[in-house]
Amino acid sequence: MKLRMLLRFALGAAVIAAGFLTAGCGGGAKEQPALHVYTWSDYVKPELVARFESENNCKVVIDTFDSNEAMYAKLKAGATGYDVITPTSYMVSLMRSQDMLQPLDKTMIPSVTHVDADYLAVALDKGMEYSVPYMLTNTGIAYLKSKVDGFEPTWAMFERTDLKGRMVMLNDMRETIGAALKYLGYSLNSTNPEELAAAGAVVKKWKANLAKFENEQYKTGIASGEFLLVHGYSGDILQVQAENADIAFVMPREGGVLSCDDLVIAKSAKEVKLAHAYINFLHDPKVAAENTEFIQYLCPNKDAYPLLSEAIRLNPGIFLAPEIQAKCEVLADLGEKNALYVKIWDEIKAGK
């Protein structure tokens, strides 16, 4: 009888729910303080987290977000409860201007003296007042060596009509317009309307050759041969190269975007001491090196560099050649001028 079946199902569901409920309650030990970290997925080696937990007699609860903007929208709308967050630098400036962060107490984080001064020179928060650099990546071009003839390390590769429909660029307004700005020789933080309009025209030209704008799936795409040439992040491409040796990664000679994800402490953070301890822990050179090897991005901790494996130390996509490094810039938040980029991006997206 159907009713009986329904009742049985409901009973079973109730039992399962009760089971989970008690399991959940049993798991939470109230004595240990909990540090809440809001970060990208797989962005810290689990063994290191376990080590931190045992050294500090605490629990680390990691929640993840999939984009800076989503995280910001959520926090701006009022969500609290997170202690340490790892936004990208431009987002850090924005959050700082919106009074969402608290200043760092340098006495509690002595290991930040190991942070690479060369990077700090171009960083947005040079004095590390509100943020400590965590992982560095740069945006370049990855391509399949066997399928792309006559590759030149320049952004103009996107003009190649023979690769039409098999290329992607990032679905990121700043990255893609930035690539065009760099190609034209301008700064990628430019707010000059003429420069922006010129860059917009360039991207529209490139768009005709693109399969789509894509932020994450370019990795799968190039690994499977769906795409032949993609605009992507060094750290991601490194992961894919491990599987497909035909993939090469290059920073174009005109320079590009240098991004850094930083460690910050939320203004509403509860566990301030623990948060500082966590940041301090991550910049211990041995920890930083282990983390780098695991994540395959680069932790700008100069005393960790000698501890890295050859594969990373000698990789030109990670440790850039000095003349190209000089042409790279870090993306800054543009505040109200953001609207200028929005307008160009809308036009690019709307045009056929």
Partner: protein, 262 residues
Amino acid sequence: MKRSRFPFIVTGFVLVFFYLPILFLVVDSFNASRFGGAWRGFSFKWYERLFHEPAIWEAAKNTLFIAVVVTFLSLVLGTVSALALHRFAKSRLQRFHYTLIYTPLVVPEILMGISLLMAFVAAGVRLGMATIILAHVTFCVSYVALVVLGRLQDFDFTIIEAARDLGATGWQAARRVLLPMLAPGLAAAGLIAFTLSVDDFVITFFVAGPGSTTLPIRVYSMIKHGATPMINALSTLLLALTFTTVIVSQRLSKSGAMEGGQ
């Protein structure tokens, strides 16, 4: 009397359509490649890694718990409202009620998520599992109400009155007359509510509290750096579990039915 074969052919096609991506999903869980594009050899490593990822199991547990509670609550609320909509269909209150019921379907999830978050923050409600449940029930109620309403079409409430005239209490009449009649509608509506809750990402992202993550949130954030084939493995396990349960219960009910006579 020849019955048309057409509906069954279409059903067959629909099932093939549904399971084609599932086939790919399952096969990819055994693909040694992390990026799921090309086949790089058979491997169990994603299953092994899955068992060493407490974060994913924690999220799965939360997701399941939330879905069960949400299904129950929205079934109750939705059925009651469907009864009102059907029984008193002529009244003005019900017309407004009907609009209220289907409007949540219209609001884009992003805005529903942000506005709920703002409302919770303004009211000083702490984000956590409870807020996720509240949000899910809000959009599931509409689905349940509409499905049960479809079930109630042409249902004549005089049957209930007749039962009561014959001596049944209100509760007995409901249990013996109304509920059995509604049962398939409740089952269908419950399945919809459960599915919606299990898979919701956008709204859940905004109203989840620290430490109360769900599987969709984990999966979305894994796209950037994480190893998504683990989710393929998890999904395959879920499918295997569900189908095994179904087959076992079918076997049990078959032998039970044979003994009890059909």
